[in-house]
């Protein structure tokens, strides 16, 4: 279908899009009838457990399974000897399925399948492991050194070479890897310069340089990771049930690792009990499959909460540095260096080093910019995708630096941001793509007004030991491209079946897809069924990640609907004797645009079968539309790295107890430019949840490692995420609508944005309250206390 026609379709008066329709999954969820992978059990199934390394860095010399195998009901024990030798990772492949050399505490070194979970755990305790301990490295700056005391992957050069021609390496992944021969723990680097940075520094009035950090954070999805694998020894077919956000991506990884033919592998993925990135690709499905292949039985590997903490992925810690050249009250040049602490394996860090910088550069208009971004190995838990995909970690230093510059220039923090706002239709200087209809300024103004910023700022702030503060920050979230597809079928009663390869992980995006389908076919939501969660039934999609479902899969759905509609109109055209483009489709009826009495019901386009029911349509079989969304088609081949940029600003009021360091968040107002809001209430609910998570990151959450590199708060009793008492009820979202020319009905994205902005706003407001700038998150009460009362070393 031509772009012009699509454009016409988008601009029509909207009936379903833009309305606050209830979520399509709510009824199942409030009645407890929604099924998650953790709820699946099969007859004759085995239960699995894993053994993980006790040491942060060690060779596994010997694994003695004698005692464990004596237990009644143990069916198989596998080690690194029993699994394929290929490695996994995102765009860079370094992690074995089960390792021979442990690189962090939690690294899986053996797995057991047994008749019950209890026996599997008992067997895990009875397995004796002989380690050859190696010195370990935990500090990312030390690991980054030219001569680090420990090298985490001694075979890094071979890994790099192997991954260049890797079948799963996206050849158009932005900016190919350069090998840093002299830094043996650096596996990913992304460096570049825009303008003339050195010259600018010579012209500067003054230079401001600061270092920043973000801590290790746990995803804390309430459903732990789980996978059930069933290998059929007779047919060679594999079925996987798992808590995966992106079934197709995981499937392709699994096929590569085990040399499986994709047509013989099925992923079935019911509702996911929260993912936030931790279930974004292949996670534990491979271990379950290796056990299933060994036992020829279905095997359920359901991680306990403790194992989930220790052996899955966490959010990378980062260390960053910003150096700014300031002239005439503006930033003339910026130098930014970011170290992503990947932990023991790449996982998705290679991608962060490339993706995050785009947001840092887009955030403000700065003419000269030099960036250096690295992925660095340490012997710590593995950093993986986490809501925002590295962007909060780079916007943390950016926004903190803006506040610090405002302080140095004696101007308001809002003023320094206004001086550097990105412009509408400006280009991202790195990717040279348009930033689109940038509503950053509108968002900022709305927040200033709604929170009554200037009045509040000048008010008396002290109430005894409690001091009030107010802060405003900004953020952007670029949405990466992929190629989603969709299949839409209209049946003889006008019911619409939409098949998509994405998951419902909680974001509500399936509801948005239903609204888009309803709109395209003018059919009520009750008559739209979204089919998802089974690769036998659904077309390819990269999955539910990166805030992409509504904006990208939504486009594929819209196109597939229009193709199905076109088929119906063409069939009706013959019956009615009216050219098809003069016909309109609405809720199972096709009618002439000019003469509304000239109409036909869709079921008249179907043959009656011998059972008297209409089945296949005349000529076409069923009425089906298939579509893939490829942005290149729409930009006439012009290269874009991102579909669109979501912009926004956030204001926050809080109070700090100067005696204890406790922070109460009083009010949060977030203004967000989401393009067209397909469902405004669902946009708001995403913001609320992201703000809550961001408050957790800002004030409380951090995985603490002891001197051996072991996480010591690996339980929800010790690792606290915010409860209702830590969160404000006063959360307001202002949707600033724009029209994104690439999005379905003009929509952009929302899911990750609130997390990318909230911690920075907390820090800004704390500074306003007590006059102390913090450089790292979390800003715990303890840190605030010692900052006020003097540091205890």
């Amino acid at each position: 279908m031509g772009t012009v026609e699509l454009e016409k379709e988008r601009k029509k008066e909207l009936i379903y899009v833009g309305k606050n329709l209830p979520r399509i999954d709510s009824l199942e969820k409030v009645t407890g009838s929604a099924k998650y992978c953790y709820d699946l059990f099969f007859p004759n199934m085995l239960y699995a457990a894993v053994v993980s390394s006790k040491y942060a860095h060690a060779f596994i010399k010997r694994i003695d399974t004698t005692e464990a195998l004596k237990l009644q009901g143990v069916r198989a024990i596998i080690t690194s000897e029993d699994v394929p030798k290929k490695r996994k990772g995102q765009l860079f492949f370094d992690r074995p399925i089960i390792t021979k050399k442990a690189r962090y505490i939690g690294d899986v070194i053996a797995a057991i399948a047994a008749d019950t979970e209890e026996i599997a755990y008992e067997a895990a305790r009875k397995i004796k492991v002989e380690y050859e301990k190696l010195p370990a490295i935990f500090d990312v700056k030390e690991a980054f050194n030219i001569n680090p005391k420990v090298i985490v992957h001694e075979d890094l050069d071979e890994l790099i070479e192997a991954s260049q021609g890797h079948p799963l390496f996206e050849q158009d992944a932005p900016f190919f890897r350069k090998i840093l021969k002299d830094r043996p723990n650096v596996f990913a680097n992304f460096e570049g310069e825009i303008g003339e940075v050195d010259k600018a520094f010579k012209e500067a009035d003054f230079i401001v340089e600061n270092e920043f950090k973000t801590g290790r954070v746990y995803h804390a999805a309430v459903e732990p990771h789980v996978a059930i694998a069933n290998y059929n020894q007779h047919t060679g077919e594999v079925t996987i049930w798992s808590s995966c956000q992106c079934p197709y991506r995981a499937k392709m990884e699994l096929c590569y690792l085990f040399d499986l033919e994709p047509s013989k592998v099925t992923f079935i993925n019911p509702y996911v009990g929260g993912g936030f990135g931790s279930k974004g690709y292949l996670t534990i499905e491979d271990i379950a499959l290796a056990l299933s292949m060994k036992t020829n039985r279905a095997v359920r590997l359901a991680y306990s909460r403790r194992t989930d903490f220790l052996s899955t992925v966490i959010r990378n810690a980062t260390y960053s540095r910003i150096r700014d050249a300031v002239k005439n009250g503006k930033i003339l040049a910026r130098e930014m260096e970011v170290l992503f602490d990947a932990g023991a394996y790449n996982d998705a860090t290679f991608k962060f080093t490339r993706s995050a910088i785009f947001a840092a550069i887009a955030s403000y208009s700065i003419p000269n910019f030099r960036f250096k971004c690295y992925g660095v190995y340490t012997n710590t838990p593995v950093g993986g995708a986490y809501r925002g995909f590295g962007i909060q970690q780079v916007l943390w230093p950016v926004e903190r630096q803006m506040d610090i510059l405002a302080e140095k220039l004696s101007i308001d923090p809002v003023e320094i941001r206004k001086r550097h706002l990105p412009k509408k239709d400006g280009l991202n200087p790195l990717s040279k793509e348009s930033l689109g209809d940038v509503k950053a300024n509108e968002c900022l103004e709305k927040v200033i007004e709604a929170i009554d910023y200037y009045n509040k700022k000048s008010e008396k702030k002290s109430n005894g030991k409690w001091k009030k503060g107010i802060g405003i920050t900004m953020a952007n979230k670029p949405i990466h491209l992929h190629h989603p597809s969709a299949t839409v079928k209209i049946d003889m009663n006008g019911f619409v079946e939409v098949r998509v390869g994405v998951q419902e992980i909680g974001t509500g995006s399936l509801t948005a897809l239903a609204q888009i389908s309803s709109e395209a076919l003018k059919t009520p939501m009750e008559k739209v069924k979204i089919v998802w969660g089974d690769t036998r039934l659904t077309p390819y999609d990269e999955g539910t990640a990166g805030s992409r479902v509504t904006a990208l899969t939504g486009n594929a759905v819209l196109r597939a609907c229009m193709k199905a509609r076109e088929k119906a109109l063409k069939l009706a055209s013959k019956k009615l004797g009216i050219p098809w483009h003069e016909l309109e489709y609405k809720n199972g009826e096709i009618f002439s645009k000019s003469f509304q009495d000239k109409k036909i019901h869709i079921n008249e386009l179907f043959y009656k079968t011998m059972y008297g029911l209409p089945s296949a349509s005349i000529e076409h079989g069923e009425i089906i539309g298939n579509a893939i969304y490829d942005l290149k088609e729409e930009t006439s081949g012009l290269r874009r790295f991102h579909q669109s940029y979501t912009w926004g600003a956030q204001g926050m009021e809080l109070e700090v107890n100067t005696e204890t360091g406790k922070v109460n968040i009083l009010k949060v107002i977030t203004a967000i430019d989401v393009g067209k809001a397909i469902n405004p209430e669902l946009v708001k609910s995403q913001i609320e949840g992201g703000v809550a998570m961001g408050i957790g990151l800002a004030l409380y959450e951090e995985l603490i490692l002891n001197e051996q590199g072991e996480i010591i708060n690996e339980h929800f009793l010790d690792y606290k995420i915010p409860t209702p008492f830590e969160l404000p009820l006063d959360m307001e979202t202002i949707i600033v609508e724009s029209y994104d020319s690439y999005g379905p009905f003009g929509a952009k994205a929302v899911g990750e944005f609130p997390l990318c902005i909230t911690p920075q706003t907390v820090a800004s407001a704390i500074y306003d309250a007590i006059g102390i700038q913090f450089y790292e998150i979390p800003i715990t009460s303890e840190k605030i206390f010692f900052a006020i009362h003097g540091v205890r070393k």
Partner: protein, 161 residues
Amino acid sequence: MIKLSRKITLNVNGKNYEVLCEAGENLRDVLREKLGFLGVKKGCDFGGCGACTVIIDDNAVYSCMTWAYKAEGKKITTIEGLSSGRPLHPVQEAFIALSASQCGYCTPGIVMSALALLNKNPKPSFEEIKEALAGNMCRCTGYVRYIKAIVNACKNLKKFE
């Protein structure tokens, strides 16, 4: 492994179930894996998340922290008992109306905590609702919609009875 087990009778959602239980078995695992009440969720190993919350007699409890045999002779209500064969409870209706759940994994536990609260206190304050939900971990929503929905549900409690 030496195991001590005996048959116990559990009253779940008004019906009796006879089930063979081991001495150290917790109620959550018995409800989920032996009796098939999968609306009782498992989110952690013990006492950390509240996804397994059920009502025993009048109180919302973590079923993972309750020995199965200790629940004998008591009235256990799970999410499945709330609206099976009847209209939705006003709390459920209100959760739907506000799109309060997101991933939904914590939702059954939150519904049970809310129900236990409203049974005792049909007009709770915001603070009392927060208190009631403090043991239910939710990572998706920030609780805002859950709390507002519970307030809305109070208006329709009478109708439900």
